[in-house]
C-alpha cells in the first residue's frame, strides 16, 4: 500500500502539480519565475557555492536524463569498460563538487545576516532536500557500484512503465532502501518545484553565455571612466566562455574517441605474428634493394664494364633500365642492326628519369615536362623543354668466353659482320669509356 503510494501515486501527483503549478506561477507571477538573487548581498560565497553546485548538478541531471530516455544507447556506450570507468569517476567527482557547493551555500545562507533577511523556510527545505538527495546518490554510487549499468534494467524500466501509464513497481521493489529513498527524494523535489526557487530551472539563461555585452552608460563622468573597463571585462568573459567551451568540447572529442589511442601511440603497436612476419619481409625487401644499389655503386668503382643483359633479352620497343657509371639511370634497347643502343635516361631538362617505351616514331618520353627523345640520335623533339640530346653510352659485346666481340656506339665497324648465332649468345656491358 505504502509502496503503491510512494512509487505510483506520488510520481503522478508530483509531475502533475509540478507542471500545473509551474504554468500557474509563470502566468500569474512572471516576476518570481527565477531564483531570488542574493548576489548583491553576498558575492564571495555565492561564487564558490553556486558555481560548483550548478556545474555538477547540470551534468549529473543530463546524464540521468540520457540514461532514462535512451537506455539502449546508454548501455551500448557503457559497454566499453574505459567509458564506464570514466562515467563512474566523473559521477563521483561531480557529486562531490555538488555537495561542496551545497555546503558553502548552506553555510552562507545560515550565517550571513544579510542573506538571513531574505531566506524563506522553503529555501531551507529545498537546500536540505538537495543535500540529502545528492548525498544519497553519492552513497549509492559508492556502495552499490556500477549504478550506471544496473539502473538500465531497474529504474529505467520503472520510469518507462510510469511514462507509458502502465506502472510496474516490481522493477524497483527489491532495490536497496537507499535507492528507493533516492527515487522518493526525486519525486519530492519535483513536487516542490512550483512552490520554491527551483522553478528557476525553467528559465535557464543560456543566452547569457553568448549574448552581446550590455554596456551601462553612466552620465556621471567619474563613473563613465570606469564603465569602459567593465565593458571590456564583460566582453572578454563572453569570449572566455566560448573559448573554454570550444576547448572543453575538443577535449571531450579527444577523450571519447582518440585519447586512449594517442596515449598508446608511445607503447608501440602489438602486432600479430603474421603481421610481424609480413613487416619483416617488407623490410628485408627494401634492405635488399638498398644493398643492391650499394653493390652496384661498388661495382662501378672496381670494374671497367658492367653487365646489363643478354643481347637476346633486349627489345627494340621496351628498353631495360640500368645504372650507368655516374650512378644515373640509363636504358638499353636493341637497335635495327641487332646491336644494342645504350642511352642515358636522365632527362637533360630537369633530370627526371625518361620512360622506356618507344612510340611509333621510335622516341621515348620524359613524363615530367613532355620531351620526346629519339633513341637513335638522342635528340629531343622541336619545342621540347629539353634542349640538349640524351647522350649515348659506350657498350661492349662479349661472347661466352669473355672475349670482346664488338664495341659501340662510335666504333661503327665492330659487330656488323657477326653471325646471328654469335649475337644470340652475346652479352651486353656498359663501359666506363665512351664507346
Amino acid at each position: 500500500m505504502l509502496d503503491s503510494f510512494l512509487y505510483v501515486a506520488l510520481p503522478y501527483l508530483a509531475v502533475t502539480i509540478c507542471i500545473a503549478g509551474s504554468i500557474y506561477r509563470i502566468r500569474r507571477e512572471p516576476i518570481t519565475y527565477s531564483a531570488l538573487s542574493s548576489q548583491f548581498l553576498e558575492n564571495n560565497g555565492l561564487l564558490w557555492g553556486s558555481l560548483p553546485w550548478h556545474i555538477g548538478i547540470i551534468v549529473i541531471i543530463l546524464a540521468h536524463a540520457l540514461a532514462f530516455l535512451c537506455p539502449g544507447l546508454w548501455q551500448q556506450i557503457l559497454s566499453v569498460r574505459a567509458v564506464l570507468l570514466v562515467v563512474e569517476v566523473c559521477g563521483y567527482g561531480l557529486s562531490i563538487l555538488c555537495i561542496l557547493g551545497l555546503v558553502v551555500l548552506a553555510v552562507r545562507r545560515l550565517t550571513s545576516p544579510r542573506i538571513q533577511a531574505v531566506t524563506t523556510a522553503m529555501d531551507l527545505v529545498v537546500l536540505l532536500l538537495l543535500i540529502l538527495q545528492v548525498g544519497c546518490g553519492l552513497m549509492i554510487a559508492v556502495q552499490y557500484r556500477w549504478g550506471s549499468l544496473w539502473s538500465v534494467g531497474t529504474t529505467c524500466q520503472y520510469l518507462w512503465s510510469l511514462a507509458l501509464f502502465q506502472p510496474d513497481i516490481s522493477y524497483i521493489q527489491d532495490l536497496p532502501h537507499a535507492v528507493k529513498g533516492h527515487i522518493v527524494g526525486a519525486w519530492l523535489l519535483i513536487l516542490v518545484v512550483p512552490f520554491s526557487r527551483l522553478i528557476h530551472m525553467f528559465s535557464v539563461p543560456l543566452s547569457y553565455l553568448t549574448r552581446p555585452p550590455q554596456n551601462v552608460i553612466w552620465t556621471n563622468p567619474r563613473r563613465a571612466e570606469a564603465a569602459g573597463e567593465v565593458f571590456v571585462k564583460e566582453e572578454s568573459r563572453r569570449h572566455f566562455v566560448l573559448a573554454a567551451g570550444g576547448i572543453a568540447f575538443g577535449g571531450f572529442l579527444l577523450l571519447i574517441g582518440t585519447f586512449d589511442k594517442i596515449f598508446n601511440f608511445f607503447f608501440g603497436p602489438r602486432l600479430s605474428a603474421a603481421e610481424e612476419t609480413k613487416l619483416m619481409q617488407h623490410k628485408l625487401e627494401r634492405l635488399k634493394i638498398t644493398a643492391e644499389q650499394r653493390s652496384l655503386e661498388l661495382e662501378r668503382r672496381e670494374s671497367r664494364f658492367i653487365f646489363i643483359a643478354d643481347l637476346k633479352d633486349l627489345s627494340d620497343t621496351e628498353g631495360k633500365y640500368f645504372i650507368d657509371f655516374s650512378m644515373q639511370p640509363g636504358i638499353a634497347f636493341k637497335g635495327e642492326n641487332g646491336l644494342p643502343i645504350l642511352i642515358s635516361a636522365k632527362c637533360t631538362h630537369l633530370g627526371c628519369t625518361v620512360g622506356n617505351r618507344r612510340d611509333a616514331e621510335g622516341r621515348i618520353l620524359c613524363p615530367c615536362h613532355v620531351s620526346y627523345f629519339d633513341v637513335v640520335t638522342g635528340k629531343p623533339n622541336e619545342g621540347a623543354p629539353a634542349k640538349a640530346p640524351l647522350p649515348h653510352l659506350g657498350w661492349i659485346l662479349m661472347n661466352s668466353k669473355d672475349q670482346v666481340i664488338a664495341r659501340g656506339p662510335h666504333d661503327k665497324t665492330g659487330g656488323v659482320n657477326l653471325s646471328a648465332q654469335t649475337l644470340a649468345d652475346a652479352r651486353v656491358f656498359v663501359t666506363r669509356e665512351e664507346g
Binding site: V232, E235, I262, N264, P269, L287, Q293, S326, M327
Partner: protein
Amino acid sequence: MDDIKQTERAGSGNGSLTGKAMNFMLERFPVEKMNFHYMFEQKEVPVHSMSWGYYTGGLTFFFFVIQVITGLFLIFYYQPTVSDAYLSVEFINNHVSGGSLIRNMHAWSSSAMIFFAMLHLLVTFAMKSFVKPRELTWIAGVILLFITFTFGFTGYLLPWNQIAVNATKVGLQSIEDVGQYLPGALSTLPQVLRETFQGEASVGQSTLGRFYALHVVILPLALSALLGLHLFQVQLHGMSRGVDEKPKRSEKFFTAFFFKDLEVWALAFFILFCLALCIPFESFLPFPLLAPYDPLGATPAGIKPEWYFFFVYYPLELLPFWVILLASLAAVLVLFLTPWIFRGTSRKTLRFIAVLAAAYLFVMTVFGQAIYEALKS
C-alpha cells in the same frame, strides 16, 4: 651608465653613420617599453572592419605549435634511411595506435600553416603594418615565410615515395639551372649549392639525411629564434592601426583579444581534428605516386610539388626559365624592401595590390593545372 647615454646622444646628434644606426636600433628596440606593463597590460588592439587580419598571425603560430607537437610524435617512429623511411611511414599509418591521425594532422596542419602565413603577409601588407617602426617585424616575417616554405620542401621528401623523391630531384635540379645565367665564377655556385643539399651524385641517402636534419632540427631552431624576434617586436610596438579612419574603439590585448584568439584556435583545432580524422591528406593523389621510390624506373607521370608551390611551379612550366628567375628575384627584393618602397603608398593602393596578388595566388593554385593543360595541348 651616464656615459653610455651621453655617447648615444652625441652619436644621434652628429648624424654620423654609427649614430644613425644607433638611432635606428633605439627606435626599434625602445628600452623604456620593455616591461610587462607596457607589452601586455597596456597593449590594445583596434577594432575595425579589418580586425580579422589580426588573427592570421596567431593562427599561423597555432599551426606551428601543432606541427611541433605532432612532429615530436612522428620522430618516435620515423627512420630517415632510404630503405626504411617509406616503411616506417607506412608503419605509423597502419600499425601505430593513433598514428594515421597524428600524421594526417601534421600534413593538414602544414598546409594550414603555409596558407595562413601567406594570408598574414597579404593582410599585413594591405593594412600597411610594415612602416616605421615595424620594419624589422616585416623582414623577420618574410624570412619566417621562406623558412616555412623550406619546411614544406624538406618535409615533402621524408616519406621517400615516388612523387616525393622525383619532385625533389626536379626542385634541386632547377637550383642548378640558375647557374647558366650567372657570370663567371658565380655560375658554378648553384651547382655547388645543389650538391651541398643533395650530398651525393643523385638524390639518395645523403639527401634524405640532410633534409631530415634541416626539417627536424635546424629549421625549427631558426624559426623559433626569428619567431621570438617577430613576436617581441609585435608586443613592443603594439598592433598597427591598419586602417585610415580612426578606429571607434579598441580592446585590451589581455584579456579580451587573447581570449578571442583562443576561441579562434579552438575552432581551428576542431576543424583540423575532424579533417585529419576523416580525410587522409594523400587522398588527392593516385597510388602509383605514393608507392615507394624505385631507383630503377621511369619517373611516373604527374609529378608535382605541393599545392603551395603551384604559384611558381606552373609559370615555371609555361614560361622560359629566365623570365621566372627575373620575376622571382624581383618579387623577393620587393618583399624585403617593402617597408621602404611602399612607405608613402596609400592603404587603398596597397589593398589593391594585395587583392591582385591574392587573386594571382588563388588562380594559379586552383586553376593552374587547367591553365597548363589548356596552353600545352
